[in-house]
Symmetry: C2
């Protein structure tokens, strides 16, 4: 859109508004700013909390899942086991002229037609070739001379306590804080599967040169949900509720044909056709779609792209990224849905020696018959003499079924060069009872960057009406719910307005009280930060205890009695009634 | 208490319960555990969120303050300016035998009668003396040979981005994230004072040897409220509302007489007698008292201790710590109330050169008359010849009032060796209009460690009844609000219970559904995690749509219609009605 109208693109507009009205800005501005770090101002912090709470409701509350909070810093061994120490690195090049450092693959993506997916696949040597062939420029100084690409380790490193060899890292994901506590969480869940654990918290990735605002930060907020299930019982109890809902998929198969054609499918069909392999993954993808709709992103602007093997994180066997169309960047990741299998739990078991298996009792014990070949030493000894011991050991390793079949069919069994006759062994059938099985649970993981959700929400809310900005936040997440405006700051109007303010604050609403400037200007200021409703106190209010309520989006107005406000507003913000139900229409 | 009965003290009991039921535990247990790091399990994370929300309500919502969210990592310059780089260090000694390192002052406090306050005052040399004189032992191996004490820097250090000289630190407080953004926050607040900004988030202190559970962590959650005001208008608009409420103070004056006698005083009196110097500090102390009462800590178990000069942080001119009695540790810090004056803003201004002053317009401009002495060069030149220029400069620096007085009284004014006569100068009175003044706002800061609040809440909730544990959380913060229990898992009771469960989940309640074991056992499990209400579905429910509600604390029961549940339960958890109002009493 930006190319046609020559107005700044949405990112520029949103960033400017965000800074001016205090949604967010780059941190430490008085110290020149620090790349990849952002501060959420009052409106932003509230909006972010509302988004995170919607995520909690949509996933945890819906499915009865639990949340934990673990530290951001972890000892080195955790990330040795998880594979992060080995895999968490990015290709870096340095401009020979200005000595600034950049991610080699990002420069390629920005300055050529090479896609992210293609760039991620390249080795260091291939990256260097491409950078030379494509005449890549330094984004800072324009020079075209770069160092050889090398790998830069992108975790934040520190030491824990006073011993300098006690290395710790800032976590790049919240997931490991859940995996390392699996045994305890399993006990707390009364040793039942499936169960899921959510964690929302800060995480750290020491990006080489972050230049995408909230979308690529060095410190960000992650919401990881680790859902543990028995791979032999992968069925989801709420599948029926959502199996007819649809998803737009961009399948790996399609992508490998260099096409971006979307496959529109119901959940049921996606599972039947094995587009999606796990029921729980499909269900979490639908819930992620619901979440984004609640944040104001229409379904048609959402898709799920299946990652190619080299694009997937080291722990995943199947990954879909939920993507959303953004004005500047096109399709952009909003969440990831990985199947981590038993990778993480097994890695921690291997590293610590602590058992991560669970035992699942069968409903009924299973009786199994086992064929047992026992050497008959009274006959074996004389037959094989000094080799008898060796034959005995070899028999123990032999497959009893093969021995039995051969003896039956041929009358003997060749154990290497030793000819075993029926009289050398006794064959019995022993019954054993298995009461259950031991296994490491598998994990599917929906993972959100809540800063990304924040940016997406803000960009989709951004609209203009009569050349003015209106942030059309869905009412369920607006950082401020209600504006209160005395028509004048005199004649008792301000006093009356303060009374209503207090009543609604006590009801738990988030409110802005504004008595500065004309009513029109106050409405405009409110629209710009997305306050859904404005309540105006005028001279009629003093006579009949009614107020005007104004709708942010339609600019329509209704008139309502003060006493009814708490009930009506509660129902409105819970989505039970619409604006028109708040009172009698006012001609404007 | 623990000494008399020989039962384990409350800390031991609470820690055991916390681990078993999933409130919290030391992190990374499968890797041997990491000192100073804790993970909150499902119940703990929820309780912690509830406590933090109470804090938001009590401070931010009550006073209309705003919240922000800034990063945990900050560039070095921020903490150079704030003084942390210089001051954030602790005395460390190393056991010569086992090479374990400890905080020297903590060992003294633990093994002698030297108090925290006294130990903090000691220099490194004095600490060494005391350690030798008191025959201090290594808590790990018992040896009595220590290295010389030296200072250990207790911030977590890392590097930001790919440049190794770009040092960053983990923030030890959330306050600096607010101070560095002051100008922007002031603009967002439409350039009005006073205003306050709250931040709740993780913080890091690289403790030498943390051994006090949740009370001294390396990673913890801090809630810092920075309240900016004009030091010439330090009055608080809500003082009247609370001025007759009382505080228990342990004043510095009392402490210096080696007494612990509490001064019980109203806020009004405390301000009049200058026990507390700032109105806002007094108001925040009252709100902190309210908060702890809401968390279940009676007023009598709370006091505010005035810190002695050497106990105060480097930025504070007046500090009161809110303390609470704990079973093992006695009076223990729950919050700090410091007057940070203009220390931080001025430090950042000095470091960055960025103006942190605000301009406050007077209500009416102030007209000021200024006396101006102007040299009369036509006379000065001939009189002083080549010195005339020098005399002109010296006159400009002279005090006009002195010149005028001297000329009037003596007929001349001696400017060093130069004799100024009335004809050499002209004296005028010029009027200037001052429209306002420029100043750096002052700051008072209430600061909470929410992990400490968590521990305090848990310890005060811990009680026993009939040899069983009952966590008596105030209903407003219980991590789970309602238990739902079908009497049997058959005959449609479970189905009915699930329906009620769904209705109440949709109403937003936090619920545990439990159908395992006898009703008595389920009640006991619920009491142990502090669920205030239990709803039991029995055979009568199927007939008349009524259920039994059981009270956790009194174990009384009432009978209520299912349709009334949402409304009644909402009112109960908002504190509008009591348990008895929930239905008709049931004989038990």
């Amino acid at each position: 859109m930006s190319t046609e109208t020559k107005t700044p693109d949405k990112l520029t507009q949103v960033t400017e508004l965000a800074k001016r009205r205090g949604f967010y800005w780059q941190s430490y501005g008085i110290y020149g700013g620090t790349s990849g770090f952002f501060t959420y101002g009052p409106l932003g912090a509230k909006l972010k909390q509302n988004i995170e709470n919607k995520l909690r409701q949509t996933f945890a509350q819906k499915l009865g899942l639990q949340e934990i909070e673990s530290p951001i810093i972890a000892p080195a061994s955790v990330f040795e086991a998880s594979g992060h120490l080995k895999h968490f690195k990015e290709p870096m090049i340095e401009c020979q002229k200005c000595n600034k450092k950049f991610r080699a693959d990002h420069l390629l993506r920005e300055q050529t037609h090479i896609t992210d997916a293609e760039a991620e696949k390249l080795t260091l040597e291939q990256l260097q070739q491409q950078i030379q062939q494509n005449n890549i420029q330094c984004p800072e100084c324009g020079a075209k001379q770069f160092s050889e690409p090398k790998h830069f380790f992108t975790m934040f490193t520190t030491t824990i306590g006073p011993y300098s060899d006690n290395i710790g890292y800032g976590r790049p994901e919240a997931a490991q804080g859940i995996f390392v506590e699996f045994n305890r969480l399993y006990t707390i869940n009364r040793e039942k599967l499936p169960f899921g654990t959510l964690q929302i918290g800060h995480a750290l990735r020491n990006e080489i040169s972050p230049r995408q605002g909230l979308l690529r930060q060095r410190e960000f907020t992650i919401a990881d949900l680790e859902f543990f299930y028995d791979p032999e019982q992968p069925d989801c109890h709420i599948l029926k509720e959502i199996e007819n809902e649809t998803l737009q998929l961009l399948l790996a198969e399609t992508r490998q044909k260099c096409s971006e054609k979307l496959t529109e499918t119901t959940v049921k069909e996606a599972l039947e056709k094995r587009y999606i392999k796990t029921e729980w993954t499909a269900v979490f993808m639908i819930l992620a779609k619901h979440l984004l709709i609640q944040l104001g992103i229409p379904a048609k602007n959402q898709r799920f792209i299946e990652k190619l093997p080299w694009e997937r994180a080291h722990y995943s066997t199947e990954t879909f990224d939920q993507e959303v169309i953004l004005d500047r960047w096109g399709w952009t990741e909003a969440s990831g849905h990985a199947n981590r299998t038993d990778y993480d739990l097994e890695s921690h078991e291997l590293k610590t020696g602590i058992d991560m298996h669970v035992f699942r009792e069968y409903e009924k014990p299973i009786e199994k018959e086992q064929l047992v070949i026992k050497p008959n030493m009274a006959k074996l000894g004389p037959a094989f003499k000094k080799d008898a011991g060796k034959v005995e050991d070899m028999l123990a390793d032999a497959d009893p079924k093969q021995v039995e079949d051969s003896l039956k069919e041929k009358g003997y069994f060749m154990l290497d060069q030793y000819k075993i006759l029926p009289e050398h062994v006794s064959i019995t059938r022993e019954k054993t009872i298995e009461t259950g099985r031991r296994f490491i649970p598998h994990v599917v993981e929906p993972s959100f960057g809540t800063d990304r959700l924040f940016h997406i929400t803000l960009e989709y809310a951004y609209s203009t009406k009569d050349d003015r900005v209106v942030l059309k936040f869905p009412r369920g997440i607006a950082p401020i719910q209600i504006g209160i405006y005395p028509l004048m700051s005199k004649d008792g109007l301000d006093q009356k307005a303060l009374e209503i303010h207090k009543t609604l604050i006590d009801e738990g609403f988030t409110i802005e009280f504004d008595e500065a400037g004309s009513i029109g200007r106050r409405y405009a200021r409110a629209d710009e930060i997305g306050i859904p409703l404005g309540i105006t106190i005028d001279y009629d209010t003093l006579k009949d205890d009614t107020v005007t309520i104004r709708d942010r989006d339609s600019w329509k107005q209704v008139r309502t009695g003060i006493d009814d406000l708490p009930r009506l507003l509660n129902e409105y913000f819970l989505g039970k009634i619409d604006f028109e139900d708040l009172g009698n229409p006012v001609e404007s």
